[in-house]
């Protein structure tokens, strides 16, 4: 197995990935370093150069600093170049151009304070605020003081080029910001703290709130943010919402549920251990139907079909905290495989379809899971993952990315980066 590796020589706590080209190995990686004075480190795979920005954010929360919530690459200004977007829990959005000069102090970068007091002040009285947009701000109720948590939970970027609006979730409000000056255009009160926004398609986003509401928001082709409740699901502790066909996949800490748009449950599947990684939802065995590959911190990989039936299982025995990846290499022969990595530095490469393992008894821990009752198998048959190869790197794995449908990019918390060609023996 061909492996390449390099290091940024710093411990990191988060990373983001940008594949600059559709093919080829050129990419950029963003890291947030894991020390008191956090830095953004950007690694260019081609030049192997690193650029660093000191985030003078005093990120140690105990000292009254702010915490980075999310970093990502996004072309926020639609100039065909990604920018680095950082959100903090103190209401700041920092936008950094990829061509930044390391010597530039942070203050010179575009940093937009979504000032909570601006939002707050909107509640104090009826305000009409003149903006660039033609729309007016929705009238607010008057006089009530509300405590706001300034943490920006999510940024939702509209992917329609004409709309230069960023929608952010802050506390219980969905707020539209103008992309030019990040001024508040309008907002909506969803009633309780927003925990997550998922963009399902170009105009439907799913918003989950703490008091168990899941709302579908239809964004119209205007600057106005209309809340259209497509469905309301009373469910608590939803961590993520994804989609499968025309249905929603409600992901909680220990379960996955398929829900129709009319709030009808098609199936539910429980897992041991927390689900902290995204679910791979793809027809990775080319049978014409989407499959789901769910991993959890118990180490067990669950391959389900669209109807929630278990196709195969595999126990990697350590935390799976990264999304499984599907690789399809169309060379002379068609090759597909699925990769699952465990936090303790092991990479498992499977063929998409499972394999019969005769006379194997599942462990007692596996048998006691609820989801397993749907498994149809004879006493002597058991479907297990068809493991092609198990690779070990003596390092922990923070994140994994796919590159060029052939390379697996691994990032460790120590700042080491590994590039593995999954199809090479």
């Amino acid at each position: 197995m061909k492996k390449e590796g390099f290091s940024v020589d710093q411990a990191i706590s988060q990373c983001a990935f940008s594949n600059l080209f559709k093919s080829g190995l050129r990419f950029k990686l963003l890291f947030i370093t894991n020390n008191e004075k956090h830095k953004i480190v950007m690694l260019d795979s081609q030049s192997k150069k690193q650029k660093q920005v000191n985030l003078d954010l005093k990120l140690n929360k105990t000292l009254g600093g702010e915490h980075i919530n999310e970093i990502l690459f996004y072309d926020i200004d639609y100039n065909n170049t990604n920018e680095i977007i950082i959100t903090t829990d103190n209401g700041r959005i920092i936008v950094i151009n990829l061509n930044f000069d390391e010597k530039q102090p942070l203050s010179t970068f575009n940093s937009y304070n979504v000032n909570i007091y601006d939002v707050f002040s909107m509640f104090a009285q009826k305000i009409q605020r003149k903006t660039n947009s033609k729309d007016k701000i929705t009238e607010l109720f008057q006089g009530e003081k509300i405590k706001l948590s300034p943490k920006i939970n999510s940024i939702l970027f509209p992917n329609i080029i004409t709309r230069k609006i960023i929608t952010i979730a802050m506390d219980k409000y969905l707020i539209n910001l103008d992309m030019n000056d990040f001024s508040i255009q309008n907002y909506s009160d969803l009633g309780s703290q927003i925990t997550h926004i998922n963009q399902i398609n170009h105009n439907i986003s799913i918003v989950t709130t703490q008091n168990a509401y899941v709302l579908a928001i239809e964004q119209l082709l205007s600057n106005k943010l209309d809340l259209k409740t497509a469905l309301t699901i009373n469910d608590t502790n939803i961590t993520k919402i994804s989609k499968i066909y025309n249905d929603l996949l409600i992901i909680k800490e220990n379960s996955v549920k398929r829900l129709t748009i009319k709030n009808k449950s098609k199936w539910a599947y429980n897992v041991e251990g927390s689900i902290s990684a995204d679910i791979l939802n793809y027809d990775y065995d080319y049978d014409g139907y989407d499959e789901l590959l769910i991993v959890s911190k118990s180490g067990i990989i669950h391959a389900l079909d669209k109807d929630g039936k278990v196709k195969w299982l595999y126990n990697t025995e350590f935390w799976n905290t990264n999304m499984p990846l599907f690789f399809s290499h169309k060379g002379l022969t068609k090759k597909q495989l699925v990769s699952v990595v465990t936090f303790d530095g092991k990479i498992y490469l499977f063929k998409p379809k499972g394999i019969l393992d005769l006379n194997v008894e599942p462990s007692s821990a596996v048998m006691l899971d609820y989801g397993f009752y749907d498994l149809e198998y004879d006493a002597n048959q058991y479907l297990t993952g068809n493991l092609i190869e198990k690779i070990e790197i003596n390092d922990t794995i923070l994140d994994n990315f796919k590159l060029d449908n052939e390379y697996l990019l691994l990032v460790s918390p120590k700042g080491n980066i590994y590039l593995i060609n999954v199809f090479e023996n």
């Binding site: 251990g273 911190k297 118990s298 905290t321 994140d399």
Partner: protein
């Protein structure tokens, strides 16, 4: 586990507490899950270490000590002050997640005292929010046990403590099922397990969920009893399967590097 034909077939691990082994008909039954329950300062960790030390030195066993909150050096220093001769053990410390396999690979075949410092492992991931660092540590523990067992390096497991494990592994949902699964895992692997449980301040039950003693194979209770100005430690057997145990309360005495269970004189 298999069906025995007579009592003498049960292999027992001596606790190495004078007079207490007689109360246990020779010692703790092998491959049992034993709860060592007591309030703070009742020498639970020291007693578990004492059992493991004795087995390692006298019977070439291997023991793994999962310390979830106390630092490895703090634990070992404590044992040194109690006159345990650590030079008789092969000390191994597991303190990095990525090096678990490497550590295990380099372990000798016998007389190993392996400390899995979960506190240090937690520090490794505490800033990695993506990993959800304060959950699912039970799988790490199981992973280490499985790997050690594959190499026959795990005869005794000590978990310090169950209370910490609950915090680190979301036991609040279905605690009985999860605890049962964990105990069964230990039994299936034919390990003698000593699980340290802190008796909650409200005194209800021997653990946070009040079910630990029902699921365990044996329970040894440790307590502190105030008599006038002096405080004395007490030890007793609350439950022990496969054993016709003496359930009397003994005074636990530690003197000259040796534990003793002294018969209480009633009034």
């Amino acid at each position: 586990m298999k069906l025995i034909t007579n009592k003498e077939e049960i292999v027992r691990l001596a606790t190495n507490i004078d007079n207490f082994d007689q109360a246990l008909e020779g010692g703790l039954p092998e491959h049992s899950v034993i709860l060592m329950a007591g309030t703070s300062g009742t020498m639970k960790s020291s007693l578990c270490f004492n059992v493991a030390f004795n087995e390692i030195v006298n019977n070439n066993a291997n023991a793994v000590y999962f310390t979830l909150e106390q630092n490895t050096y703090s634990l070992l220093n404590q044992m040194i002050t109690m006159n345990f001769d650590l030079s008789k053990l092969n000390l191994v410390r597991i303190s990095e997640i990525s090096k678990i396999d490497e550590n295990i690979k380099n372990i000798d075949s016998s007389k190993n005292f392996i400390v899995a410092d979960v506190g240090v492992l937690r520090k490794e991931v505490e800033s990695l929010q993506k990993v959800k660092p304060e959950s699912d540590w039970i799988y790490v523990i199981k992973n280490i046990i499985t790997k050690l067992k594959e190499k026959n390096l795990c005869d005794i497991v000590i978990l310090d403590s169950l209370s910490a494990l609950y915090v680190l592994s979301q036991f609040k949902e279905n605690p009985r099922v999860k605890l049962f699964q964990f105990f069964e895992f230990l039994r299936d692997n034919e390990i003698t397990s000593l699980l340290i449980s802190e008796i909650p301040p409200n005194g209800k039950g021997l653990g946070e969920f009040g079910i630990e003693d029902y699921l365990a194979d044996g329970v040894i209770l440790l307590a502190k009893n105030r008599e006038g100005l002096s405080v004395r430690r007490e030890i007793s057997i609350s439950k022990m399967r496969q054993t016709c145990a003496n359930m009397d309360v003994f005074i636990l005495d530690f003197d000259g590097g040796k534990f003793r269970a002294l018969t209480k004189i009633s009034e």
